[in-house]
């Protein structure tokens, strides 16, 4: 038994020397994993940030401008204006915009908004369409003074802001939690939740996730 431990030690020493003797090998054992960690952590993200959205507004009305300003209000979309559809389509082809919001000249009378996403990046398309239609619906309800009959009070455990990478830079606590990365939990008719009773956090996760008030603080 003792003998095998001694032999194992000798073998380990030999292997380590082999590995660490060559300066290039030394480099490749240490540096690439670190780089990989950094690059994976920052590049592997599905968060959609500052998506470029093309706007073709044939209506040019007060309502259409109000609708568009509600799209930019969340800070997740940057608008680029185009005179007609073919210019916008060109920009989409070149990949400089990820979606087009098209308002026909009949816009407020005929309340239809066309939303075109670039499906060649299917995941971003899903997210952008989801967020944009949510924003437009919210705007429409607010503008018409409607209140949603059924609201979805959603809560994401273990990762309240649905980030692919935890942001360490923000100050912890409420600040962190009330800032939503993708517009989803933004002002749902600016209305405090009455659901404190049945939030139900999981054991072992920080308190702020169990506190519905901080997650859905009206903005």
């Amino acid at each position: 038994m003792i003998g095998s431990v001694v032999r194992l030690r000798a073998l380990l020493t030999k292997e380590f020397r082999h590995l660490l003797r060559d300066p290039r090998m030394r480099f490749f054992v240490i540096v690439p994993p670190l780089i990989q960690l950094m690059v994976f952590g920052y590049a592997a993200t599905f968060d959609v940030r500052e998506a470029q959205v093309g706007v073709v507004d044939y209506a040019h009305t007060f309502q259409s401008r109000k609708l568009l300003s509600s799209v930019t209000a969340g800070g997740h979309f940057q608008l680029q204006y185009f005179d007609d559809m073919s210019n916008a389509a060109d920009a989409m082809n070149r990949g400089s915009i990820q979606a087009i919001v098209h308002l026909a000249s009949e816009f407020p009378r005929q309340p239809v908004v066309q939303l075109i996403a670039d499906g060649s990046d299917s995941n971003s398309a899903q997210i952008v369409v989801g967020q944009l239609s949510q924003i437009i619906q919210e705007y429409a309800q607010q503008a018409n003074g409607l209140q949603q009959a059924v609201r979805l009070d959603e809560r994401t455990w273990y990762n309240p802001n649905m980030e692919d990478r935890e942001h360490r830079d923000g100050s912890a606590g409420c600040d962190h939690a009330s800032y939503s990365h993708d517009g989803g939990t933004r002002t749902r008719d600016g209305h405090t939740r009455k659901t404190a009773g049945y939030a139900g956090g999981a054991p072992g996760i920080p308190d702020r996730q169990n506190d519905p008030g901080s997650l859905h603080r009206p903005v």
Partner: protein, 368 residues
């Protein structure tokens, strides 16, 4: 540069290749293997995510909303719970991706048009959570509208160009080709010159009237031929097996691919000369091609969503340009000249790498 010398070098390299059946099998089968692996394994679509339901009152309204979640293609009710503890435990263990809580007074709330449903999502996979949230919100919106009977105040008609079903397969497979070609192309060429050095063949070559330019050209041409064969194989598999539409022209795809193969193979031969032995060369080529091509090319992770510093870093990754061009030709079906900057970038890279490889080859001890 004499054509005769280049031909002799090509013939020698070709024999090396043909004689080594294991390498040849690797070169021809690995691209397809990788393509199948990535093509089938990398899926970002959500369908029938397991949903757990806690229904606190057994009334028609609660049944209705749960049935709607179950009927949607995004969710599938796999478990029903009677208390929060078991719902929580199930979400923690990953048995369900989301939990829906329909409160006991849901029907009464609904009469006052002020009902709340709770949706609990597992945020460990942030992207899935986000997509499920979007689906659920849209579903509840539709449900609300169907209840009130009047039409939506604004109707949003959404569609996705180039990929109407927003299937991740269509968006990913053209990119997979780029990743596979970057890895294979650099790997096989990174071994060639290192092998000559390792086996001492270089000493023999030094006695011949071969110049360094002829040496490099003769080394690269057989591999470029094989690389193009690999590429057409991969394109064929993408079109016929993965059903990705090839909307642009095959000719422009082939030309652009040739440029890309040239870039990665020049990169591989440069690595080969710097590393000097096959082990290290294969390591360097894997690290320097696979990781950037996988992460920084925009093949899965969109470049515009990365931090700015990394966005700049992607400019030196050749796969970045090829992924964009490949998606463009496959899905958008437009001419690559519309985005000529990407083509120009590949061209500049090829020239630059050829220049550096030529300079570095002076250390091999061949005739200048």
């Amino acid at each position: 540069m004499k054509l005769q010398h280049v031909r002799a070098m090509i013939r020698k390299e070709w024999w090396h290749l043909m004689r080594d059946s294991r390498s040849l099998a690797l070169i021809l089968l690995m691209p397809l293997m990788l393509l199948f692996l990535f093509g089938y394994a990398v899926r970002l679509d959500i369908s029938e995510a397991p949903l757990g339901v806690l229904q606190e009152a057994l009334d028609a309204q609660s049944d209705d909303i749960i049935a709607r979640f179950d009927a949607s293609h995004a969710f599938h009710v796999v478990a029903r719970f009677h208390d929060r503890q078991s719902l929580r435990a199930s979400l923690q263990s990953g048995q369900i991706r989301a939990g829906l809580v329909v409160p006991y007074d849901y029907a009464r709330q609904l009469q006052h048009r002020n009902a709340t449903l709770q949706l609990l999502l597992d945020g460990v996979d942030a992207n899935t959570a986000r997509l499920l949230r979007n689906y659920a919100t849209a579903l509840v919106n539709d449900y609300t509208l169907s209840l009130s009977g009047n039409s939506a105040p604004i109707r949003v008609k959404d569609r996705s160009w180039f990929n109407e079903g927003r299937e991740s397969r269509l968006a990913i497979v053209p990119g997979v080709i780029a990743v596979v070609m970057a890895v294979i192309g650099a790997l096989i060429t990174s071994l060639t010159i290192a092998r000559e050095i390792e086996y001492g063949n270089l000493v023999m070559l030094r006695t011949t009237p071969l110049t360094r330019g002829e040496f490099l050209l003769g080394k690269l041409l057989p591999y470029i031929l094989i690389g193009m064969a690999d590429l057409l194989l991969a394109v064929g598999a993408a079109v016929y097996i993965f059903d990705v539409p090839l909307r642009g022209s095959l000719v422009s795809l082939t030309l652009v691919s040739f440029l890309f193969v040239l870039v990665v193979m020049l990169q591989g031969s440069l690595i080969s000369m710097i590393a000097g032995n096959q082990m290290l060369a294969s390591q360097i080529s894997l690290v320097s091609t696979f990781l950037p091509a996988f992460l920084l090319s925009g093949f899965i992770f969109a470049i515009q969503n990365m931090p700015i510093a990394l966005q700049y870093l992607t400019y030196i990754v050749p796969a970045r340009y090829y992924v964009a061009l490949s998606k463009l030709i496959f899905l958008k079906g437009i001419s690559p000249l519309l985005v000529w900057t990407e083509v120009a970038a590949l061209l500049v890279m090829a020239l630059l790498l050829a220049r550096v490889a030529f300079m570095r080859a002076s250390r091999l001890g061949l005739l200048p």
